[in-house]
Protein backbone atom coordinates (compact mmCIF):
# COMPACT_ATOMS: atom_id res chain seq x y z
CA UNK A 1 0.00 0.00 0.00
CA UNK A 2 2.75 2.45 0.99
CA UNK A 3 4.61 1.68 -2.25
CA UNK A 4 1.61 2.94 -4.21
CA UNK A 5 1.34 6.20 -2.26
CA UNK A 6 5.06 6.91 -2.70
CA UNK A 7 4.68 6.28 -6.44
CA UNK A 8 1.88 8.84 -6.65
CA UNK A 9 3.82 11.49 -4.73
CA UNK A 10 6.79 10.99 -7.06
CA UNK A 11 4.53 11.52 -10.06
CA UNK A 12 3.02 14.75 -8.65
CA UNK A 13 6.40 16.28 -7.71
CA UNK A 14 8.15 15.12 -10.91
CA UNK A 15 5.48 16.53 -13.24
CA UNK A 16 5.30 19.74 -11.21
CA UNK A 17 9.03 20.41 -11.57
CA UNK A 18 9.09 19.51 -15.29
CA UNK A 19 6.12 21.75 -15.93
CA UNK A 20 7.32 24.82 -14.12
CA UNK A 21 10.51 24.92 -16.21
CA UNK A 22 8.91 24.29 -19.60
CA UNK A 23 6.71 26.87 -21.32
CA UNK A 24 6.31 25.34 -24.78
CA UNK A 25 2.50 25.26 -24.67
CA UNK A 26 0.49 28.42 -25.59
CA UNK A 27 -1.48 30.23 -22.89
CA UNK A 28 -5.03 28.87 -22.93
CA UNK A 29 -7.46 31.24 -24.59
CA UNK A 30 -5.24 33.71 -26.44
CA UNK A 31 -6.51 33.81 -29.99
CA UNK A 32 -3.13 34.67 -31.53
CA UNK A 33 -1.55 31.29 -30.74
CA UNK A 34 -0.18 29.53 -33.87
CA UNK A 35 -2.85 26.83 -33.49
CA UNK A 36 -5.65 29.24 -34.33
CA UNK A 37 -4.11 31.44 -36.96
CA UNK A 38 -3.11 29.05 -39.71
CA UNK A 39 -5.51 26.34 -40.77
CA UNK A 40 -8.52 26.72 -38.53
CA UNK A 41 -9.08 30.36 -39.58
CA UNK A 42 -9.52 29.13 -43.16
CA UNK A 43 -12.04 26.57 -41.95
CA UNK A 44 -14.08 29.16 -40.04
CA UNK A 45 -14.13 31.70 -42.88
CA UNK A 46 -14.73 29.33 -45.81
CA UNK A 47 -16.89 26.60 -44.24
CA UNK A 48 -20.23 28.11 -45.26
CA UNK A 49 -19.05 28.80 -48.83
CA UNK A 50 -17.42 25.37 -49.35
CA UNK A 51 -19.63 22.96 -47.49
CA UNK A 52 -22.91 24.80 -46.78
CA UNK A 53 -23.01 23.49 -43.22
CA UNK A 54 -23.15 26.06 -40.42
CA UNK A 55 -21.87 23.51 -37.89
CA UNK A 56 -18.10 23.96 -38.37
CA UNK A 57 -17.25 20.72 -36.61
CA UNK A 58 -19.37 18.69 -39.05
CA UNK A 59 -17.86 20.68 -41.93
CA UNK A 60 -14.31 19.82 -40.82
CA UNK A 61 -15.24 16.27 -39.83
CA UNK A 62 -17.20 15.31 -42.95
CA UNK A 63 -15.85 17.47 -45.73
CA UNK A 64 -12.36 18.93 -45.18
CA UNK A 65 -11.06 15.86 -43.28
CA UNK A 66 -13.67 13.35 -44.50
CA UNK A 67 -11.05 10.60 -44.90
CA UNK A 68 -10.40 10.66 -41.13
CA UNK A 69 -14.07 9.89 -40.47
CA UNK A 70 -13.98 7.00 -42.93
CA UNK A 71 -11.03 5.59 -40.97
CA UNK A 72 -12.88 6.19 -37.71
CA UNK A 73 -15.83 4.13 -38.91
CA UNK A 74 -13.31 1.47 -40.02
CA UNK A 75 -11.86 1.50 -36.48
CA UNK A 76 -15.35 0.84 -35.10
CA UNK A 77 -15.97 -1.87 -37.70
CA UNK A 78 -12.62 -3.56 -36.95
CA UNK A 79 -13.42 -3.44 -33.21
CA UNK A 80 -16.74 -5.16 -33.94
CA UNK A 81 -15.16 -7.85 -36.15
CA UNK A 82 -12.37 -8.43 -33.60
CA UNK A 83 -14.88 -8.85 -30.75
CA UNK A 84 -16.86 -11.33 -32.87
CA UNK A 85 -13.74 -13.27 -33.86
CA UNK A 86 -12.41 -13.44 -30.27
CA UNK A 87 -15.78 -14.36 -28.74
CA UNK A 88 -16.80 -17.05 -31.19
CA UNK A 89 -20.07 -18.29 -29.64
CA UNK A 90 -20.37 -21.95 -28.73
CA UNK A 91 -23.83 -23.36 -29.55
CA UNK A 92 -24.26 -25.09 -26.22
CA UNK A 93 -24.06 -21.83 -24.20
CA UNK A 94 -27.74 -21.24 -23.38
CA UNK A 95 -28.38 -17.67 -22.54
CA UNK A 96 -31.39 -16.02 -21.07
CA UNK A 97 -31.05 -13.01 -23.29
CA UNK A 98 -31.79 -14.91 -26.48
CA UNK A 99 -35.46 -14.24 -27.19
CA UNK A 100 -37.33 -17.52 -26.41
CA UNK A 101 -38.33 -19.41 -29.56
CA UNK A 102 -42.11 -19.35 -28.94
CA UNK A 103 -42.25 -15.57 -29.20
CA UNK A 104 -40.45 -15.54 -32.52
CA UNK A 105 -43.11 -17.79 -34.02
CA UNK A 106 -45.45 -14.74 -34.02
CA UNK A 107 -47.52 -15.96 -31.06
CA UNK A 108 -46.57 -13.35 -28.40
CA UNK A 109 -47.51 -14.34 -24.86
CA UNK A 110 -49.85 -11.89 -23.10
CA UNK A 111 -47.25 -9.68 -21.42
CA UNK A 112 -45.68 -12.31 -19.10
CA UNK A 113 -42.43 -10.79 -17.80
CA UNK A 114 -39.85 -11.44 -15.15
CA UNK A 115 -41.35 -9.20 -12.53
CA UNK A 116 -45.04 -9.96 -13.26
CA UNK A 117 -45.84 -6.29 -14.06
CA UNK A 118 -47.38 -5.38 -17.41
CA UNK A 119 -46.68 -1.66 -17.80
CA UNK A 120 -42.89 -2.11 -17.86
CA UNK A 121 -43.00 -3.74 -21.28
CA UNK A 122 -45.40 -1.21 -22.76
CA UNK A 123 -43.35 1.71 -21.41
CA UNK A 124 -40.04 0.30 -22.66
CA UNK A 125 -41.29 0.15 -26.24
CA UNK A 126 -42.42 3.78 -25.96
CA UNK A 127 -39.03 4.87 -24.62
CA UNK A 128 -37.23 2.97 -27.38
CA UNK A 129 -39.34 4.65 -30.05
CA UNK A 130 -38.68 8.11 -28.57
CA UNK A 131 -34.93 7.46 -28.51
CA UNK A 132 -35.06 6.30 -32.13
CA UNK A 133 -36.97 9.45 -33.13
CA UNK A 134 -34.39 11.61 -31.36
CA UNK A 135 -31.58 9.67 -33.08
CA UNK A 136 -33.06 10.39 -36.51
CA UNK A 137 -33.41 14.08 -35.57
CA UNK A 138 -29.75 14.18 -34.51
CA UNK A 139 -28.73 12.49 -37.77
CA UNK A 140 -30.67 14.87 -40.02
CA UNK A 141 -29.57 17.97 -38.10
CA UNK A 142 -25.89 17.06 -38.22
CA UNK A 143 -25.07 20.19 -40.22
CA UNK A 144 -27.09 22.77 -38.33
CA UNK A 145 -26.64 21.97 -34.67
CA UNK A 146 -24.33 19.70 -32.69
CA UNK A 147 -24.96 16.12 -33.83
CA UNK A 148 -23.98 13.84 -36.65
CA UNK A 149 -23.25 10.25 -37.55
CA UNK A 150 -21.64 8.93 -34.39
CA UNK A 151 -24.13 10.38 -31.95
CA UNK A 152 -27.08 9.15 -34.04
CA UNK A 153 -25.59 5.66 -34.42
CA UNK A 154 -24.85 5.38 -30.73
CA UNK A 155 -28.38 6.59 -29.86
CA UNK A 156 -29.98 3.99 -32.13
CA UNK A 157 -27.88 1.32 -30.47
CA UNK A 158 -28.97 2.72 -27.10
CA UNK A 159 -32.63 2.42 -28.01
CA UNK A 160 -32.00 -1.26 -28.86
CA UNK A 161 -30.03 -1.79 -25.64
CA UNK A 162 -32.75 -0.14 -23.52
CA UNK A 163 -35.49 -2.34 -24.93
CA UNK A 164 -33.29 -5.45 -24.61
CA UNK A 165 -31.95 -4.74 -21.13
CA UNK A 166 -35.13 -3.73 -19.34
CA UNK A 167 -37.58 -6.17 -20.92
CA UNK A 168 -35.58 -9.11 -22.31
CA UNK A 169 -38.65 -11.30 -22.83
CA UNK A 170 -40.59 -8.95 -25.08
CA UNK A 171 -39.63 -8.69 -28.72
CA UNK A 172 -37.34 -5.65 -29.27
CA UNK A 173 -38.14 -3.09 -31.98
CA UNK A 174 -35.71 -4.63 -34.49
CA UNK A 175 -33.92 -7.88 -33.78
CA UNK A 176 -30.40 -8.25 -35.17
CA UNK A 177 -28.46 -11.47 -34.79
CA UNK A 178 -24.72 -11.16 -34.17
CA UNK A 179 -23.77 -12.25 -37.70
CA UNK A 180 -26.28 -9.88 -39.33
CA UNK A 181 -25.13 -6.97 -37.17
CA UNK A 182 -21.48 -7.55 -38.11
CA UNK A 183 -22.43 -7.70 -41.80
CA UNK A 184 -24.51 -4.51 -41.43
CA UNK A 185 -21.51 -2.71 -39.89
CA UNK A 186 -19.52 -3.69 -42.97
CA UNK A 187 -22.25 -2.35 -45.24
CA UNK A 188 -22.21 0.96 -43.31
CA UNK A 189 -18.48 1.34 -43.92
CA UNK A 190 -18.96 0.39 -47.57
CA UNK A 191 -21.65 3.07 -48.04
CA UNK A 192 -19.12 5.63 -46.84
CA UNK A 193 -16.30 4.30 -49.04
CA UNK A 194 -18.63 3.97 -52.03
CA UNK A 195 -19.56 7.67 -51.77
CA UNK A 196 -15.87 8.43 -52.12
CA UNK A 197 -15.51 6.02 -55.03
CA UNK A 198 -18.51 7.65 -56.72
CA UNK A 199 -16.62 10.95 -56.82
CA UNK A 200 -13.51 9.20 -58.15
CA UNK A 201 -15.49 7.56 -61.00
CA UNK A 202 -16.98 10.95 -61.81
CA UNK A 203 -13.60 12.58 -62.22
CA UNK A 204 -12.90 14.20 -58.84
CA UNK A 205 -10.53 13.32 -56.01
CA UNK A 206 -11.62 10.75 -53.39
CA UNK A 207 -14.48 12.24 -51.27
CA UNK A 208 -14.72 15.47 -53.32
CA UNK A 209 -18.45 16.07 -52.98
CA UNK A 210 -18.54 18.69 -55.74
CA UNK A 211 -18.19 15.82 -58.25
CA UNK A 212 -21.03 13.55 -57.01
CA UNK A 213 -23.02 12.32 -60.03
CA UNK A 214 -26.44 13.55 -58.75
CA UNK A 215 -28.19 16.09 -61.05
CA UNK A 216 -28.38 18.82 -58.34
CA UNK A 217 -26.82 22.32 -58.25
CA UNK A 218 -23.34 22.46 -56.74
CA UNK A 219 -24.18 23.83 -53.31
CA UNK A 220 -26.63 20.99 -52.54
CA UNK A 221 -24.11 18.37 -53.69
CA UNK A 222 -22.01 18.99 -50.60
CA UNK A 223 -25.06 18.66 -48.38
CA UNK A 224 -26.04 15.39 -50.08
CA UNK A 225 -22.45 14.15 -49.77
CA UNK A 226 -22.31 14.90 -46.05
CA UNK A 227 -25.75 13.32 -45.54
CA UNK A 228 -24.70 10.14 -47.37
CA UNK A 229 -21.62 9.62 -45.26
CA UNK A 230 -23.51 10.46 -42.06
CA UNK A 231 -25.96 7.67 -42.89
CA UNK A 232 -23.03 5.32 -43.54
CA UNK A 233 -21.43 6.25 -40.23
CA UNK A 234 -24.72 5.84 -38.33
CA UNK A 235 -25.34 2.35 -39.68
CA UNK A 236 -21.71 1.35 -39.04
CA UNK A 237 -21.61 2.61 -35.45
CA UNK A 238 -25.04 1.25 -34.49
CA UNK A 239 -24.38 -2.21 -35.90
CA UNK A 240 -20.92 -2.43 -34.29
CA UNK A 241 -22.16 -1.49 -30.82
CA UNK A 242 -24.93 -4.10 -31.08
CA UNK A 243 -22.44 -6.71 -32.36
CA UNK A 244 -20.04 -6.21 -29.45
CA UNK A 245 -22.94 -6.20 -26.97
CA UNK A 246 -24.41 -9.48 -28.29
CA UNK A 247 -20.97 -11.08 -28.55
CA UNK A 248 -20.23 -10.34 -24.88
CA UNK A 249 -23.75 -11.23 -23.66
CA UNK A 250 -23.67 -14.64 -25.34
CA UNK A 251 -20.58 -15.59 -23.35
CA UNK A 252 -21.94 -14.23 -20.03
CA UNK A 253 -24.36 -16.72 -18.44
CA UNK A 254 -27.00 -15.11 -16.17
CA UNK A 255 -28.15 -18.42 -14.77
CA UNK A 256 -28.06 -17.32 -11.17
CA UNK A 257 -31.07 -14.96 -10.91
CA UNK A 258 -33.74 -16.97 -12.77
CA UNK A 259 -36.75 -16.10 -10.60
Amino acid sequence: MMRKVIGIIVIIVGLGYVFMSFDFLPVIGDSTAPAHTHVSDYYIENALRDTHSPNLVTAVLADYRGFDTLLETTVMFSAGVCAVMILGSKSHIRNRFLVPKKILKGKPEPGVSAYKTVNKDVMVTLIAIMILLYAIYVLLHGEVGPGGGFQAGALMALSYIVSMMIAPDTRPLFSLSKANAAALAGIGVFIYAFTGLLTVFNGGMFLEYGRLPFPVSNEYLHTIGIMLIEVGVTIGVMATIITILKAIIERVRFDDDRD
Partner: protein, 126 residues
Protein backbone atom coordinates in the same frame (compact mmCIF):
# COMPACT_ATOMS: atom_id res chain seq x y z
CA UNK B 1 -6.15 38.21 -6.86
CA UNK B 2 -8.66 36.41 -9.03
CA UNK B 3 -6.79 37.23 -12.25
CA UNK B 4 -3.54 36.03 -10.56
CA UNK B 5 -4.89 32.49 -10.16
CA UNK B 6 -6.58 32.64 -13.54
CA UNK B 7 -3.32 33.73 -15.16
CA UNK B 8 -1.45 30.85 -13.51
CA UNK B 9 -4.16 28.39 -14.51
CA UNK B 10 -4.27 29.64 -18.08
CA UNK B 11 -0.50 29.61 -18.41
CA UNK B 12 0.34 26.22 -16.85
CA UNK B 13 -2.28 25.06 -14.38
CA UNK B 14 -4.75 23.34 -16.74
CA UNK B 15 -1.96 21.60 -18.67
CA UNK B 16 -0.39 20.43 -15.41
CA UNK B 17 -3.69 18.97 -14.17
CA UNK B 18 -4.28 17.27 -17.54
CA UNK B 19 -0.84 15.67 -17.51
CA UNK B 20 -1.39 14.68 -13.89
CA UNK B 21 -4.62 12.91 -14.91
CA UNK B 22 -2.75 11.22 -17.77
CA UNK B 23 0.08 10.06 -15.49
CA UNK B 24 -2.43 8.66 -12.94
CA UNK B 25 -4.06 6.78 -15.81
CA UNK B 26 -0.71 5.28 -16.83
CA UNK B 27 0.14 4.63 -13.16
CA UNK B 28 -3.21 2.87 -12.73
CA UNK B 29 -2.54 0.65 -15.75
CA UNK B 30 0.80 -0.42 -14.29
CA UNK B 31 -0.03 -0.60 -10.56
CA UNK B 32 -3.50 -2.18 -10.55
CA UNK B 33 -3.46 -5.95 -10.37
CA UNK B 34 -7.00 -6.49 -11.67
CA UNK B 35 -7.35 -6.54 -15.48
CA UNK B 36 -10.76 -4.82 -15.32
CA UNK B 37 -9.26 -1.89 -13.41
CA UNK B 38 -6.45 -1.69 -15.96
CA UNK B 39 -9.07 -1.30 -18.69
CA UNK B 40 -10.84 1.50 -16.82
CA UNK B 41 -7.53 3.32 -16.21
CA UNK B 42 -6.81 2.97 -19.94
CA UNK B 43 -10.08 4.78 -20.69
CA UNK B 44 -9.21 7.48 -18.18
CA UNK B 45 -5.82 7.97 -19.87
CA UNK B 46 -7.52 8.43 -23.26
CA UNK B 47 -9.96 10.99 -21.81
CA UNK B 48 -6.95 12.89 -20.43
CA UNK B 49 -5.42 13.05 -23.94
CA UNK B 50 -8.78 14.35 -25.27
CA UNK B 51 -8.97 17.08 -22.57
CA UNK B 52 -5.40 18.16 -23.47
CA UNK B 53 -6.28 18.46 -27.14
CA UNK B 54 -9.45 20.43 -26.46
CA UNK B 55 -7.69 22.86 -24.12
CA UNK B 56 -5.33 23.64 -27.05
CA UNK B 57 -8.24 24.91 -29.11
CA UNK B 58 -9.66 27.42 -26.64
CA UNK B 59 -10.15 31.13 -27.42
CA UNK B 60 -11.09 33.73 -24.76
CA UNK B 61 -14.63 35.02 -25.20
CA UNK B 62 -15.48 32.87 -28.26
CA UNK B 63 -18.74 31.04 -28.90
CA UNK B 64 -19.31 27.39 -29.88
CA UNK B 65 -18.19 26.54 -33.46
CA UNK B 66 -21.63 26.88 -35.09
CA UNK B 67 -21.84 29.82 -37.51
CA UNK B 68 -24.24 32.67 -36.64
CA UNK B 69 -25.37 35.19 -39.26
CA UNK B 70 -23.98 38.25 -37.50
CA UNK B 71 -20.51 37.00 -36.63
CA UNK B 72 -17.98 36.37 -39.39
CA UNK B 73 -14.48 37.12 -38.00
CA UNK B 74 -12.47 34.04 -37.04
CA UNK B 75 -11.61 35.16 -33.49
CA UNK B 76 -15.18 34.86 -32.25
CA UNK B 77 -15.40 31.08 -32.83
CA UNK B 78 -13.62 28.26 -30.99
CA UNK B 79 -11.12 26.24 -33.07
CA UNK B 80 -13.27 23.52 -34.80
CA UNK B 81 -10.30 21.36 -35.90
CA UNK B 82 -9.54 20.03 -32.39
CA UNK B 83 -13.19 19.01 -31.89
CA UNK B 84 -13.23 17.06 -35.16
CA UNK B 85 -10.04 15.23 -34.17
CA UNK B 86 -11.33 14.43 -30.70
CA UNK B 87 -14.48 12.74 -32.05
CA UNK B 88 -12.04 10.26 -33.62
CA UNK B 89 -10.19 9.74 -30.33
CA UNK B 90 -13.44 9.07 -28.40
CA UNK B 91 -14.60 6.51 -30.95
CA UNK B 92 -11.17 4.84 -30.89
CA UNK B 93 -11.38 4.56 -27.09
CA UNK B 94 -14.80 2.88 -27.35
CA UNK B 95 -13.43 0.43 -29.95
CA UNK B 96 -10.45 -0.45 -27.78
CA UNK B 97 -12.71 -0.93 -24.72
CA UNK B 98 -14.96 -3.28 -26.70
CA UNK B 99 -12.04 -5.45 -27.82
CA UNK B 100 -10.51 -5.33 -24.33
CA UNK B 101 -13.70 -6.61 -22.72
CA UNK B 102 -13.98 -9.38 -25.31
CA UNK B 103 -10.45 -10.47 -24.36
CA UNK B 104 -11.29 -10.15 -20.67
CA UNK B 105 -14.30 -12.48 -21.04
CA UNK B 106 -12.21 -15.14 -22.78
CA UNK B 107 -9.37 -14.81 -20.24
CA UNK B 108 -11.89 -15.22 -17.41
CA UNK B 109 -13.22 -18.39 -19.07
CA UNK B 110 -9.84 -19.97 -19.67
CA UNK B 111 -7.93 -18.91 -16.52
CA UNK B 112 -10.80 -18.69 -14.08
CA UNK B 113 -9.86 -15.24 -12.78
CA UNK B 114 -8.82 -11.77 -13.94
CA UNK B 115 -6.14 -11.12 -11.31
CA UNK B 116 -2.71 -10.78 -12.82
CA UNK B 117 -0.85 -13.09 -10.42
CA UNK B 118 -3.45 -15.89 -10.71
CA UNK B 119 -3.17 -15.73 -14.48
CA UNK B 120 0.64 -15.85 -14.45
CA UNK B 121 0.58 -18.83 -12.06
CA UNK B 122 -1.96 -20.75 -14.16
CA UNK B 123 -0.37 -19.69 -17.42
CA UNK B 124 2.86 -21.47 -16.55
CA UNK B 125 0.92 -24.64 -15.85
CA UNK B 126 -0.93 -24.46 -19.20
Amino acid sequence: MMTGIEQFLADKGIYYLTFLLLSFGVYGIIACKNYMKKLICMNIMQVAAIVFFLSLGQKKGATIPVLIEGLTNADSYINPLTHALMLTAIVVSLGTTGVGLALLTRIREKFGSVEEDDIIRRQNKL
